[in-house]
Amino acid sequence: MTRIAAIAVFWTCLLAVLYLLRRQRNVAFWPLLALSAILLFNLFFTPHFYNLEMRGGHLYGVPIDIINHASKVAVLSLGMTLVIGAGGIDLSVGAVMAIAGATMAHLNIEAGMAPGYCILAALATGLLAGMWNGFLVAIMEIPPMVATIILMVSGRGVAQLITSGQIINFNNPVLNFIGNGFILIPFPFILTLVVFGVTYGVTRGTALGFMIEAVGDNEVAARRAGLSAKTIKFLVYVFAGLCAAVAGLVHTSNIRSADANNIGLYLELDAIMAVVIGGTAMTGGRLYLASSVIGAILIQALTTTMYAKDVSPVVAPVPKALVILAVCLLQSERVRRYLADRPNRAQGRGNE
């Protein structure tokens, strides 16, 4: 009975949020609506989906798994939102995850450093990687996709260099906690919320977010209004590198080993997807941080639901493909014009 009540309360809240978002014409409405559709489907067709349990002070259940697994991509997508918002793209974040994870594991196991220093060093590698990308894009003026491919291709090599090609296993309570810990809810998700808070604070607490949007939307006009487009572009890549390092720590800690070949593999694409699903156009100009996080959760919910429905995991890429295509089409000028014209055309016919 309490469960049914809880579900009812949850859905009431969800619907209220949806209603509010719709009224404010908030972009987050669309990804949240899609997420709700998946949750609704599960309400009827997946038994035990909503079963949440408290065990030893930890919350367990499918929804918890979803937000747990979505964390890596969510953190990545926050950095990616800034990069795409400024009119760029960063293909190297997956490789940077591997570098950060490798650094952490290597320093802990081979150099015997304290976990705190390992984590700091790993974050520093992310910072460095981001500065490299920022240098190529902002100073060298190489198109972002071209510039970040360099690190995408060679980054994993660097990570393997650090681990000497080994899979470094570690077992340190602090390091394990990052990817597996619980404080009522999974620690990776808490970390996501923290990164979200920091990103939000940095972009909205200062004028940086506004400046990123201005540069991404119309760089020429922004420069004529006195903005330093170079500095802003440089900074977003540095931030994306930092986010990638955090995501890399989570992934590495989660599997308790640094596997340079597989950590963060293809996650740059998931992160881009999450951002695009969140409503940020690839052409830049707007930052929708919360919406990107919802996008990341949506991707994971879709995957988890398919697992739950025993859809063979091998088919999973197909719906993913269709989702990207659908979002692309919805954002396409041509389709939008058609959708916008339809009521007019219908009216036109009515008048005749």
């Binding site: 491919i149 997807m273 692309c328 089409l329």
Partner: protein
């Protein structure tokens, strides 16, 4: 013209350098056999890179090639397993690759969508379709594979035979070079990549061309998938993840500009051979590790990209 030759020259220099290093440190490195193996081992990646070259010259990108290769290999393995003759299976796979690419091209051109996202979606789609055909590795047992393909190898010297895969690679290099250098289709690809708006004003049928370009890339990827089955004697829907990056790297190192308008198949061929040579050197060395290949490729990419960037910037500044 001159600049194009400059990057080819730089490529040849890198190639000579790598060969020189190989020759100094390892005996048997400067033999015909090593070179033939280099051709054969890199044939499937090279063929995909040729398709990629067309797309990149036109100013686009195709992330779907690795998935299409994997799909083709499992498609052929499965249909042959189900009793279809291999040649028919390959013909069907080539058609599918062509159609798949054409669909991507149509979406990109008609809806003005970013090629990156469309082909990303295509990448997931083809990968999933491959898994649907069969999600385990499937050996191909047929006379064509066990006999015919092997017999097609051309003896070049004592104990050295040019395998059929290498022959396919050479065929694609020649055809691709010809297509880019000696047909109107080729000129149109350069025109679109260099300045799409001008190309339109000069009467280039941009929409149709884009569909054709991506179709061609899909076709090359499917052909590469066929070559893979000769090479591996099996099909596998989960292999070659990330191969599209090698293809892109080959093209870029070979002097193809990722922003479009510049490049060529001979350059891509050199790029692919350079990548293969790096791998070969590392495996010859034995003690050097595989990751150096990635780092070295990254350094090469950086060098070639920044040289081209500086060249084009100086050119702009001069005006």
């Amino acid at each position: 013209m001159k600049r194009r030759h400059l990057t080819l020259l730089a490529n040849a220099l890198v190639l000579l350098l790598l060969y020189g290093i190989g020759g100094v440190y390892f005996k048997n490195f400067l033999t015909l056999r090593v070179f033939v193996n280099l051709l054969g081992d890199n044939a499937f990646m090279g063929i995909a890179a040729i398709g990629m070259t067309f797309v990149i010259i036109s100013g686009g990108i195709d992330l779907s090639v690795a998935s299409v290769i994997a799909f083709t290999s499992i498609f052929i393995a499965q249909t042959v397993h189900d009793g279809l003759h291999p040649w028919w299976a390959m013909a069907m796979a080539l058609c599918l690759g062509w159609l798949f690419g054409a669909t991507q091209g149509w979406l990109i051109s008609f809806f003005e969508l970013p090629p990156f996202l469309v082909t990303l979606s295509g990448m997931f789609f083809a990968r999933g379709m491959g898994y649907i055909v069969n999600d385990v590795s499937l050996a191909i047992k047929h006379g064509v594979y066990s006999q015919t393909i092997r017999n097609l190898a051309i003896p070049l010297a004592k104990n050295v035979r040019l395998p059929f895969t290498a022959q396919c690679f050479i065929l694609f290099i020649l055809a691709g070079t010809f297509l880019l250098a000696f047909t109107r289709f080729g000129r149109y690809i350069y025109a679109i990549g260099s300045n799409e708006a001008s190309a339109r004003l000069m009467g280039v049928p941009v929409h149709r061309m884009k569909i054709l370009i991506y179709a061609l890339s899909g076709f090359c990827a499917a052909a590469s998938g066929c070559v893979v089955t000769f090479y591996m004697q099996s099909g596998n829907s989960s292999s070659f993840v990330g191969l599209e990056m090698d293809a892109i790297a080959s093209a870029v190192i070979g002097g193809t500009l990722l922003s479009g308008g510049v490049g060529g198949v001979p350059g891509t061929f050199l790029g692919a051979i350079i990548l293969g040579l790096i791998q070969a050197l590392i495996s010859f060395h034995g003690n050097l590790n595989n990751w150096w290949a990635k780092i070295f490729i990254g350094i090469l990419l950086f060098l070639f990209i920044s040289i081209q960037q500086l060249l084009s910037r100086r050119l702009r500044a001069a005006r």
